[in-house]
């Protein structure tokens, strides 16, 4: 099965071809939807089979965590050898499983959500293409193939944000997303160039194998590579300073927001950092920067989410904030925790977004929570699934979010770094963010589903009351919310709570430097090379920044367990405070907020206007950039260069005009010139 892993990419691509080329001919929403969903169902099946096959092989033979499938030689020039190849290892399998699984559910949901849209087949074309690209991203066995997926998902994001392109606002948002992502891609490209310069290859397995010997820990080389790559991650995963595109990406249809802008694509940056963890491990400073940026983004986005009124905007900033947590985990070296949070976040955030889609559907395209309220009665399924996910994201035990977020906070607390003050500072900010998370998620839940009915008169007049969504939309909600409840303790529980380390152990070969590599060429079945084991990397490469190992050392001490319990209790307490306070305010005393808005006007405006990042970038980058471009064109091109060119032509013309009278056409005049010439030459010679 491992050799057939490419089928998972092929199925959605076939869906793209059928819906893309013949969607207009088919004209049947049912068929388009079935094609789109079937492709994903098959893809998910491949993922499950790959996982089973892999675990079987891994546990029975134990001959290496990496399984490479080479499809064809993609770019071979001299010593540059890039294959179109796939890599199966624990990290890619985890990504593979949840990406296809969540995508499958969201495809089903979309058949209901987009049922009345005229661009139905186009929608499924783009959605299938997205999944194919996302799988290329997480399965690619080298940096260049990963970059294919990296840019490919960006393209699909662009197309889907601007899906309703008749509204120029949507088209603008799509373009903004693509361009901001491209700034990140600039970083990825340079990171790849540097990787090739120092490793002579872009293959992940080569990089893992040689990182210990090529990169001198703490030198500027891994730092530069890591920071370039991280620039890419900030673009794709919407971290400061490139986070500005994600909230605007909400202009797309809600299933897109759930799939691309919450569950899967935006976690690509986290995936990349986890994938290339040997590079980040080699540079403690880079890890510190990652942690700092992640923590700041988490905090900043949370402050913004507290005041937004659009239900999707709240969720968008919440996503930015949660992604910040993931990078915080990466920064402190706890890559598996970051991936753990990626997975749990995918479940509860996808559920929240789909729930918001259900609300928007039920409220007939109303997105503003100020005009909602008391929907629980009319949309019970949506309410309970939304509530479950809210509790999960807030971090109440035993919901999924608790385990992943608490583990991040714990990893920060026990982070061993030469930046001595950093763990304390980061932990305080992260804990504060956890409190805010519970608060704003509570706020949006209560404002939407509880309290007074604040529906607009037009809405009431037209539709009387909201309606619950159909089965196609409710079913994925139920599945996702169930996962949001149970995924945490199924995958991981801390030592004081049963010590289930399934995910941690599973990921360990990928996220804690791999020991050896097994290659397998599927491209040339004729010439099967003997599978060879490559030697283990230097022990020193594995030493830097493995929080997991520190952790393992700590738990043997009894009092640390007590500390851990105290930390966990504290984070649950924060979550409870956040949820209950917001309930008290937004259900019981909704009027109070008006006074606070006035009293704290500057802070409120700062948050409401998203820290004015858009305005800042507009003034600092867009306006001067446009001015320079105009100057280049209007002044340099048209005045200077063309001035010289046309000036030369003008001089030639004028000279021609001036000497024209000499050409009289009379032979006697020419004879005179001849004579003059002779005289001048004579004089010249005589004088000389």
């Amino acid at each position: 099965m491992l050799d057939l892993v490419w089928l998972a990419i092929a199925f959605p691509l076939i869906g793209v071809l059928i819906n893309g080329l013949f969607g207009r001919v088919i004209r049947s929403k049912l068929i388009s939807g079935i094609i789109g969903c079937t492709a994903l169902g098959l893809s998910f099946a491949v993922a499950v089979l790959t996982w089973l096959d892999y675990t079987y092989q891994f546990w029975t033979t134990r001959d290496g965590p990496y399984y490479e499938v080479v499809l064809w030689p993609w770019m071979y020039i001299g010593n540059l050898k890039i294959d179109a190849g796939l890599l199966v290892d624990p990290l890619s399998i985890v990504m593979f499983l949840f990406v296809t699984g969540v995508s499958f559910l969201i495809h089903i949901y979309s058949t209901g959500y987009m049922a009345h849209d005229e661009g139905y087949s186009r929608f499924f074309t783009y959605l299938n293409l997205f999944v194919a690209m996302m799988l290329i991203l997480v399965l690619g066995n080298n940096g260049a193939v990963m970059f294919v997926g990296w840019e490919g998902v960006g393209l699909c994001s662009y197309l889907l944000i601007g899906f309703w392109y008749k509204d120029m606002y949507n088209a603008n948002c799509g373009m903004k997303a693509f361009v901001v992502n491209r700034i990140g891609d600039f970083g990825v490209l340079l990171g790849l160039f540097m990787l090739f310069t120092y490793f002579g290859s872009l293959n992940f397995t080569t990089i893992f194998k040689e990182a210990g010997s090529v990169l001198e820990p703490g030198s500027w080389i891994p730092l530069a590579i890591a920071l370039f790559l991280f620039l890419g991650a900030t673009g794709k995963s919407a971290q400061f300073p490139l986070h500005i595109w994600l909230p605007d990406a909400m202009a797309g249809p809600t299933p897109v927001s759930a799939l691309i802008h919450a569950a899967t694509m935006v976690t690509a940056g986290v995936y990349m950092v986890a994938r290339l963890n040997p590079i980040f491990n080699a540079s403690p400073t880079a890890g510190f920067v990652v942690a700092l940026v992640g923590c700041f983004t988490a905090f900043m986005a949370a402050t913004v989410a507290m005041t937004q009124n659009d239900i999707k905007k709240v969720l968008a900033y919440s996503t930015v904030s949660q992604l910040g947590y993931m990078f915080l985990a990466c920064g402190v070296g706890a890559y598996w925790v970051a991936i753990f949070h990626v997975v749990t976040h995918a479940f509860f955030k996808a559920c929240l977004f789909l729930g918001s889609g259900s609300v928007i559907h039920g409220m007939h395209e109303e997105q503003d929570t100020r005009y909602m309220g008391a929907l629980a009665k009319f949309m019970p399924w949506t309410y309970f699934t939304f509530l479950a996910s809210t509790i999960a994201i807030a971090g109440i035990i035993p919901f999924a979010g608790f385990f992943s977020k608490d583990e991040i906070l714990w990893q920060v607390a026990i982070w061993q770094t030469r930046f001595g003050w950093a763990p304390t500072m980061l932990w305080i900010v992260a804990a504060l963010t956890a409190l805010m998370t519970a608060f704003y998620m509570g706020r949006v839940t209560w404002k939407t589903f509880q309290g007074q009915q604040r529906w607009t008169p037009e809405f009431v007049e037209k539709h009387k009351h909201p309606h619950e969504s159909g089965a196609a939309m409710v079913m994925p909600l139920v599945v996702l919310s169930a996962l949001a409840v149970v995924a945490g303790f199924l995958l991981f529980t801390p030592p004081w709570l049963g010590n289930n380390t399934t995910l941690k152990d599973f990921l360990a070969p990928s996220t804690a430097n791999a020991q050896y590599v097994k290659t397998h060429a599927a491209a040339e079945p004729g010439q099967h090379q003997p599978e060879h084991e490559l030697p283990a990397p230097g022990a020193e490469a594995a030493s830097a920044g493995h929080a997991g190992e520190h952790h393992a050392a700590f738990i043997s001490l009894g009092n640390v367990t007590a500390t851990e319990i105290a930390f966990a209790a504290f984070s649950v307490l924060l979550a409870l405070i956040g949820l209950l306070v917001s309930r008290q305010i937004f259900v019981n005393q909704p009027k109070a907020t008006e006074a606070w808005k006035k009293h704290w006007a500057p802070a409120y405006q700062f948050s409401l206007n998203k820290w004015f990042f858009d305005e800042l970038y507009h003034r600092v980058i867009v306006v001067p950039g446009t001015a320079v471009a105009y100057a280049c064109w209007r002044f340099f091109d048209l005045r200077i260069v063309d001035g010289i060119v046309n000036g030369t032509a003008w001089i030639v013309g004028v000279t021609g005009h001036l000497v024209r009278p000499l050409q009289t056409g009379f032979v006697r005049n020419y004879a005179l010139y001849l004579l003059l010439g002779v005289v001048i030459l004579l004089i010249f010679n005589l004088v000389k």
């Binding site: 179109a84 990296w150 490919g152 471009a629 064109w633």
Partner: protein, 544 residues
Amino acid sequence: MTLEANILSIVTFLPLVGALILLILPNTEEYKSGFRWGALAFSIATFIASLFLLLGFQANGNLHFVMQIPWIPAINAEYYMGVDGISLWLVLLNTFLFPLAILSSIGVIKTREKMYYVLMLVLETAVTGVFLAQDLLLFYFFWEAVLIPMYFLIGVWGGKNKLYATTKFVLFTMVGSLLMLVAIIALYLQSGAINVLSGPTFSLAKLMALDLPPQFQFWCFLAFALAFAIKVPLFPFHTWLPDAHTEAPTAGSIILAGVLLKMGTYGFIRFALPLFPDAAFYRLGGDFFNFTIRDLIMALAVIGIIYGALVAAVQIDVKRLVAYSSIAHLGFVMLGLMSFNQQAVDGAILQMVNHGISTGALFMLVGFIYDRRHTRLIADFGGIAKPMPVYFNFFLVIMLSSVGLPALNGFAGEFPILLGSFQVNWLMTLIATLGVILAAVYLLYMFRRVFFGEVTHPENKTLADLVPREVWSVLPLAVMTFVIGLFPTMFFGKITPDSHVVLTRMQAAETASDEALISRERPRELPPDEVADLLASRAEGGAR
């Protein structure tokens, strides 16, 4: 005489034969379709003939399908044609683009149709000749022959400002090429002076074998480089291009952008650099700040990338925007060529082909809406994704290829170029990579204004989608963007052995120039083995 020996002449002159036949036909109404389909048939036949070049083409550093017979014996000029990995794909690009360009102009060109198709065919012969000639005089002959049909194509069938544009185009090119002629003659005389026995020659291979003095190389290189730099066009010699591209008829723009610009980049890698390798490392400037000619050209290329992209972003005319984007794209090609690194050079050669395909297709697509609306202003469109969905999808694919999206052709060229040039000069590459961001800015900005939003102009509401003729003209180009993007190794495999020959030559010159620099810096103090050490360390630094 076998097919093997004659195939290059067939590929080159078949269009000319077609032109002559078209000329014989009477210029009357009933023969109109004869001109159209006759020209198309001859260009397709040429394309099929050129496919034979691929058969059995094994790149090995030698010329293939060589034909070498005396042309003007009195001055030792030869009819010397040959193809290798560097020119192979350019020739195929040329024969591939011409049928499509001709197909896209059928029914669009309404005046003086006979002359139009005749000139197109003549142009095809001239361009193919440029890529195949291995004799400098023959090369110069084809080089100048390109100007004549192009001059008329722009001047007769062009837009409002056609006379200014076409005159500017010809004069710009002539300035450079006349200097090149002087350099060719100087080289010819020099070869006679060095090889007294065999006499002077125009043959590229023989001239490359000469050991030319550095100063002589420098001046000749300048003359060649100016001619090629104008053609590329390298910043700041680029201002003829936006005018010529904008005013030319659609097919003219396709050919101009698709293949004519590559004559410049091709000239560098085929003639200017291998003939005068030491000139590329000729140092300019004083003791404290000095740089080589190669640094200078790389810098101009990088400036062109950023400058072209910036100016493209603020254009109001779609065609002019695409024209400025060409300056940026060709900047990447020049950056790659001057890196003298295997990946970069191969990427640059493939990028010439890629640019021909994607920019050719962009001009074709712009031509399609120009035919419908007779305007090229971006502001006159908006929201046309709705009435023209097929057009929208083609435009999307081609635009993305131009943006450099991975798995499409643009990336297969850009990525190796930047990856290779990064090994040589990281700072310039870093700046050049910014061009990748800007490419997205100007293309997406234009795309958004043309295709998205409400249909603001009522006449755009009823725009007809592409007709089959138009689909067939652009479809092969769209398919090629995927083929090259997914299987670039197929192309690189035929390029690498031949580009490696040029590269070895350039790298040897670089080593020599470094040696000279070191011995100048530390005169006579070092014993020879220490010099060797120093050189080795330098070479290592260069590799890093």
